[in-house]
Symmetry: none
DNA sequence: ATAGGTTTTGTCAAGCTTTTGTACAT
DNA sequence: ATGTACAAAAGCTTGACAAAACCTAT
């Protein structure tokens, strides 16, 4: 059904096609849009309207109601009321869903996990991709990330540590997972949302999977993310913060040296912005496995520790920014 | 079915025959090709167009859609969306196509390019994404990569060099483009194909856009790619080669030190595999802008230089592996 | 169906009758024959064309296709494509055809020739291949071999002699042509036929293009060929002859020493088989450019000189074995 | 609903090359 | 019958334009 939906939203119609399909004059439904914001078609770069199948269905419905004697304003009100009962993207918050599904999901997921790990060891991107797609069709994105993609990467990492597979396998798996996460991230970028949140790894730090995962989850929770990727010099981060003024900055480190650098950066940032002249000070959130292994490193950082995994981090950020 | 297909694709029609069969004036579908790259007929040595049965079916479909009120641009868009799910090889080879479309597509592309660059400077991933999606729906993937994504990155790079934007913008743009390329790469991984080809940047080298682009194009040409991403130690590459035995290894470098390291690695690899006992020696293909700026560096490398851009590289590799 | 075909090809019409039956002006289908070798009518002793029912059907078909908007070149191309799957013997014998087509075909061929030579100099096998395929779709195999592949090789040879290209270009071109000829040879191996004929170059002789060409033509004339390739020791040839007992052995030499060796071998073979106990003695046919340059060398050989080129050789062999 | 703007798209023209039917001279 | 020649036909590219479609605002 996901695929079907994808296709249907890809089918876009120009004004003329909508007129042929609905029998409603263009001026009419353009007036509806102007006065009531319904339908709400997308636009091309040339500013032409692009109607989806759903928009056409909406116009059909409005036309039928007016024919049945309803005024357009009443029809729109009824449409909105019906829509509130059966909202289109029924996105429960991920946290709620995880609690419910988790027990069952792990069982169901293990089959996919085996397949993905085996496919990765065989360098078979197509097979791994097929397994992931299948999992995505059955389970929410968050579950697939937390209980399939990340465990697969951990499993490969462990096997590498035990000398069972080479680092190439780890690279391949990592590149694969990053590509997948990137694709999911692209899909879930909200039009506008809370935030924005700036996310990056500082200069020298290359391990971006955890950060990308957190960003994906935040994006799914409706946050707008400004993802700057790995290896960013501190100076440039400062400039960006000054321009964008995000309420939160996310930093991630995976090795002790990177953690130390992150800690120094956090203090520099705070010092930099905490002047009488500057009313703006960004909150700093940080994470990374190194801070789980060496909790004492957290003491050096001037910011909020986001927890042991991306899921926890996203929940923590949600809280922090809801409070603010 | 293979034989049938062979026959059908061998049936080629000149422009006049297509006019008789579809009822669409030649000027019209030539304009479609000029503006949207669809259909994409092959050519004779005398530069006359040769349409396949598939091309004729395409024109028929487009004609029917326009009769149903769709504008030609939206018809093309829907055709491409359906085609992405169940792609068929174009009549013309990619190299031929690129030459043809460039002129017309560039004009059409410039609007997208402006929008993407502006969106990037505003750190507006959603807006940039929308523009890229629109371009992808209207124009072939190859064109979008070469004439939109890469130029956008160059433009941002130039503005950074001129001090007009910060390095964060460059990072943001780079992360965005890599995510997009990764997504396209995922879409076009063929079930089985020629190859496999192993692609990586060696330890220390982080600039993977060019390599990823080349891999995407190769993937679209039907090659199976084993993408190991940036920062891979040589030892691990050797182990992988020994296990996978790809006919070709792709290496990329962007800085002089990385180029020197690549050169040393190429010689090591050759020395490693060129023993009387080893019947297998992988071909090494390499590229990266540093080899264009400093051609003398090529002399140090024991491998095939793949040219100045991803398109050239993909064509070159196609040749090399066809000859083998 | 075999009987039917036999009868149909026996019915012969002169040019005027064909005009009456097809409604196509004589000039027109003679131009088709001149430019594309289709149809290929037989001839009277006075050199008048004699069209079979099949030729008339061919002309009818071509006329219908052009009425349907196809250009004559594409109609021929489609005819040949269908014919490759289910080939029928042409009315005229290859020798007759070759003489007829030469003049006109050369003009048409020169475009292909330029392209192939240029592609070879660029080491672009794919481009060269494309040009050859196109020529094969438009013209009979014999023409393509004699007026495209062989001239291309000569042209490259001359340029090498003039120092315009390196010896690697010559090697590349030679390997390319041998591959192409080999592929055509594979395609045209008849199920069963006259023969078999054993063909080889003796130890030390590596120049196999002429021999391969002759074998291809013989194969197209319905002979079954046992191609042993270059560099065969005499002993092994003897063993093979004893086992296969072919009515004819083909030998080829390109240099004076190879010619001397060939002469000695011919005498040895004759001596070997001409014993009272042996009822079987193979006929020896030989050729190669060295025997054209130094006709006196022919005196040393105990066999039949096959003429100055592959075409002549094939015709000569046809005669010899028809008489036997 | 109309007016006055922009964008999109089918069509055409000019100037060129390639292809192809027909005519002519040998 | 053959080979050459030639002119008409068909194709190609670039650039342009005007009608159609679409947009906003009155």
């Amino acid at each position: 059904m996901g695929l079907f939906d994808r296709l249907r939203t890809d089918a876009l119609y120009n004004t003329g096609a909508v007129v042929q399909r609905t029998g409603v004059p263009a001026d009419t439904f353009r007036a509806w849009e102007r006065r009531y914001g319904l339908p709400a078609p997308a636009r091309t770069l040339g500013n032409q309207r692009l109607y989806s199948d759903r928009d056409i269905a909406t116009i059909d419905w409005l036309r039928d109601q007016t024919r049945a004697g309803l005024s357009i304003s009443q029809a729109v009100r009824q449409f909105r009321a019906a829509d509130a009962v059966d909202p289109l993207p029924p996105t429960a918050t991920p946290a709620e869903r995880d609690n419910v599904v988790e027990g069952g999901a792990d069982t169901r997921m293990s089959g996919f996990l085996d397949e993905v790990v085996r496919a990765m060891i065989d360098y078979d991107a197509a097979r791994a991709s097929r397994a992931v797609e299948e999992a995505l069709a059955l389970l929410p994105i968050e579950d697939v990330c937390l209980h399939l993609l990340q465990p697969a990467l951990y499993e490969i990492g462990h096997r590498w540590a035990r000398g069972e597979v080479g680092i190439s396998t780890e690279h391949f798996a990592s590149a694969f997972v990053i590509r997948k996460l990137g694709a999911l991230f692209n899909l879930s970028q909200p039009e506008q949302g809370r935030g924005p949140i700036v996310a990056t790894c500082l200069e020298g730090e290359m391990h971006e999977v955890g950060l990308l995962l957190t960003c994906l989850f935040l994006s799914r929770r409706g946050f707008s993310i400004l993802y700057l990727g790995p290896n960013l010099p501190l100076d440039d981060l400062v400039k960006t913060l000054r321009r964008v003024r995000p309420p939160l900055v996310l930093l991630s480190a995976s090795t002790p040296p990177a953690a130390v650098q992150l800690a120094a950066a956090s203090r520099d940032l705070k010092a930099h912005f905490s002047t009488p002249l500057s009313p703006y000070v960004p909150v700093i959130g940080y994470g990374g496995y190194v801070f789980v292994q060496h909790p004492d490193l957290r003491d050096e950082v001037d910011g909020i520790f986001l927890g042991r995994d991306a899921d926890e981090a996203a929940a923590r950020i949600d809280e922090v920014l809801a409070a603010a």
